[in-house]
C-alpha cells in the first residue's frame, strides 16, 4: 500500500477546528491565527493555504491557481480531496497564489448589488514577502491595528466598493490572517 496523501487526521473534527480558526481570522481582521500542522503537502502549497482549500472547497467550488501552484502534485491533491474544478480563468469562488499572480484582484468576481456574497475568497500565499506597515480599521477591529502586509495589498482597493468586493486570507506556513472587504487598509 502506498502512503496516503497528506490530509486531516480526523476529517470531521479537524475540519471543524480549522473552520473556527478561519472564521476567527475573518471576524477579527489583522490578527494572526494558526492552523494545525499537516505534513508533506505538495509544494509550494502552505499548510494554511491547503487547510483553507480543505475547509471551503468541494465539487461545487471553482479554484484559480497562481502560476507557480499549477503543477501536477498540487492539482492531483486538490482533485483527490475536494473534487473542486481547477479553472484557467478568474471567474472562480476561490483563488490561491502569490500576490503577483493574483493581481489585479478586480478580475475576480466581486458579487452583484443584489448578491454581494457571490464573490471570490482569495488566499495570498507567502504573505510575509515584500511587506510594509499598514494600519487597519473596520468591523472586527477593536482599536486601530498596525500590521505588516504585502506592499501590493493596497491594490485590493480597485476590487472593493462595499458591499461588493473580494475577501482575502493571507497565508504563510500554518499562519493565517483575514482581510475582509470591510477592513480599511491605510499606509
Amino acid at each position: 500500500m502506498t502512503n496516503p496523501l497528506p490530509f486531516f487526521q480526523d476529517q470531521s473534527k479537524d475540519a471543524a477546528r480549522a473552520f473556527r480558526i478561519a472564521l476567527k481570522a475573518m471576524a477579527m481582521p489583522g490578527k494572526i491565527q494558526n492552523f494545525q500542522v499537516i505534513d508533506g503537502l505538495p509544494t509550494p502549497l502552505s499548510i494554511a493555504g491547503a487547510t483553507l482549500i480543505l475547509v471551503f472547497c468541494d465539487f461545487n467550488t471553482k479554484i484559480f491557481l497562481g502560476e507557480t501552484f499549477r503543477n501536477k502534485n498540487v492539482e492531483d491533491w486538490i482533485n483527490f480531496y475536494t473534487g473542486a474544478k481547477i479553472s484557467g480563468d478568474k471567474n472562480v469562488d476561490f483563488a490561491v497564489g502569490h500576490i503577483e499572480e493574483l493581481l489585479p484582484f478586480h478580475e475576480f468576481p466581486i458579487g452583484t448589488d443584489e448578491y454581494p456574497d457571490r464573490s471570490a475568497n482569495i488566499v495570498i500565499e507567502n504573505a510575509s514577502k515584500d511587506v510594509k506597515s499598514f494600519s487597519l480599521n473596520g468591523p472586527g477591529i477593536k482599536e486601530t491595528l498596525h500590521v505588516e502586509l504585502p506592499e501590493k495589498i493596497i491594490e485590493r482597493e480597485s476590487a472593493i466598493s462595499f458591499p461588493l468586493g473580494v475577501d482575502i486570507f493571507l497565508a504563510k506556513e500554518n499562519f493565517v490572517m483575514g482581510l475582509p472587504r470591510t477592513t480599511m487598509v491605510e499606509t
Partner: protein, 278 residues
C-alpha cells in the same frame, strides 16, 4: 471518550453540507448584516424550532466546545433542553448553563445579561430574517431595496408607530443598521437587548432554516437601532424588580402564578438570576 451517537457524522450534518454552510458563514462575516442564501437542510425537528440556529451551530461546533442553549433567556425550557440534548448526543460536546463557561451559545430570542467575550460565539435562531418582509412581501423587491439602500419604508413604519401610539411601540425584532449599511432584523429579541449587539466582543451568527438565510455581525461592529432625533431609541424593560434575585437592571418576564391572576416578575435570563441569588 465521548459517548456520542456513532452512526452520525460529528455534529450530525455531513461534511459537504457543513462546507456549504461554512462558505455562507464566511461571506456573512465579511458583509455584516447582509442575508446570505444557503441550502437549508431538513433537520430532525420541525421548522420554527430553531433549525437555522441548529445548522449554524452544527457547522461551527468543534470537539472542545462547551455549548449553552437558551430559549427566551432560560436554559430549562423545552426548546433549549431538546437542542442541548441533541448536540450532546450527535457531537458529544460538553454543555453548560453557565454563560461565562460556554464557548458557543445558541439562543432563541434573548442575549445573555452577562457581557460576552471574544472567545464566544452567539448563534441566534431566526424565524423571519428579512426586516422589510412585513412592509414588502416580495423577496425580489426587498433584495433590490437592500441593494439600493432604500430604507425609507422602515422609517415610515416607525413614524406610523409614533403617530398612532405616541411612541415607537415596536418592542421586539427592533430594526438595526449594521456597519452603516444594511438594515438587519436582530431576530425577535426584546429591544432591551439591542444595545448589547453594538460593539459586542463575541461573534454573532444568525440562522433562519425555513427562510434559508444566514447573516452575521463580527465583533466590534457598529449596530445602531433606528430612531428619530426627537424620538430616540429606548431600551425599555418592565419597571419592576426581579422577585427572585432582586435585580433591577435585567429584562423581566411577567409570570402568572395562580388561578386568580396574581403575577410576579423575574429575570428572563435564568443563569444570570441564579448567579445573583447565590
Amino acid at each position: 471518550m465521548s459517548n456520542s451517537e456513532e452512526d452520525f457524522n460529528f455534529a450530525y450534518l455531513d461534511e459537504q453540507t457543513k462546507r456549504m454552510i461554512r462558505r455562507a458563514l464566511i461571506k456573512a462575516i465579511c458583509i455584516p448584516g447582509y442575508q446570505v442564501p444557503f441550502a437549508s437542510r431538513e433537520m430532525p425537528m420541525p421548522y420554527g424550532w430553531g433549525t437555522g440556529g441548529v445548522q449554524v451551530t452544527a457547522a461551527c461546533l468543534q470537539e472542545t466546545d462547551v455549548l449553552k442553549v437558551i430559549d427566551q433567556g432560560s436554559d430549562d425550557t423545552t426548546n433549549a433542553v431538546s437542542i442541548r440534548k441533541f448536540f450532546e448526543r450527535v457531537a458529544g460536546v460538553k454543555t453548560t448553563e453557565n454563560t461565562g463557561k460556554a464557548s458557543v451559545i445558541q439562543t432563541r430570542h434573548r442575549i445573555p445579561e452577562q457581557v460576552l467575550s471574544e472567545d464566544q460565539i452567539l448563534v441566534y435562531q431566526v424565524p423571519i430574517p428579512e426586516p422589510l418582509r412585513f412592509l414588502e412581501p416580495r423577496e425580489t423587491e426587498t433584495r433590490v431595496m437592500h441593494a439600493l439602500e432604500e430604507y425609507g419604508l422602515m422609517h415610515v413604519k416607525l413614524y406610523e408607530d409614533i403617530s398612532i401610539n405616541g411612541e415607537i411601540s415596536t418592542a421586539y425584532a427592533y430594526p438595526v443598521k449594521v456597519n452603516d449599511r444594511y438594515i438587519m432584523d436582530p431576530s425577535p429579541t426584546p429591544k432591551f437587548d439591542n444595545p448589547k449587539m453594538n460593539f459586542c466582543s463575541a461573534i454573532q451568527l444568525f440562522g433562519a432554516g425555513r427562510e434559508q438565510r444566514i447573516y452575521a455581525v463580527p465583533p466590534y461592529t457598529k449596530v445602531i437601532s433606528l430612531d428619530f432625533e426627537d424620538y430616540p431609541f429606548e431600551a425599555s424593560r418592565a419597571e419592576k424588580t426581579c422577585e427572585i434575585c432582586g435585580a433591577t437592571n435585567t429584562y423581566l418576564d411577567e409570570v402568572v402564578i395562580d388561578d386568580k391572576g396574581t403575577r410576579m416578575f423575574s429575570c428572563s435570563d435564568s443563569d444570570y438570576c441564579n448567579s445573583q441569588k447565590s
